[in-house]
Symmetry: C2
Subunit: 82 residues, 2 copies
């Protein structure tokens, strides 16, 4: 299993409730891909969302996000963690 950070851009003005809804859509299907989205953070002023996940591959993380309706081209595999 690997650890991944994905970054979503263009979410200026998103609310806490909207982030929670989006995150819940990931959590509802993540087990299909053996992925778990551990944390999510939002900067609504600059419109950035960061999601920290574990899973078997970058592609598995991407598939969950795609099916949940919020794909992103930016997924990073975090092979070092402090």
């Amino acid at each position: 299993m690997g650890k991944f950070m994905d970054v979503h851009s263009g979410f200026v003005g998103v609310t806490a409730e909207q982030l929670r809804d989006a995150h819940d859509r990931d959590l509802a299907i993540e087990h299909d891909e053996d992925v778990h989205f551990e944390r999510a953070w939002l900067d609504p002023e600059q419109g950035k969302v960061f999601c920290l996940a574990t899973g078997p591959s970058k592609e598995a993380v991407q598939r969950v996000h795609e099916r949940a309706g919020h794909p992103t081209p930016e997924i990073y595999e975090l092979t070092v963690e402090l």
Copy 2:
């Protein structure tokens, strides 16, 4: 106090030891700005580093990184966290 994610680009091939050294330079001086760098993650293939910090302001986080020798223009204030 706020929570911040900063993103560093262009670190392709950086090693775990180099990340540890850079992180230690932040930790050595962060108290001057009332900042704490909690976590750091590295994707050495795509050259991205993510640092999660708490502190009084984005500028305070930036000043620590500048003095430690690794400034970045990308610092996000995380007002929502799941």
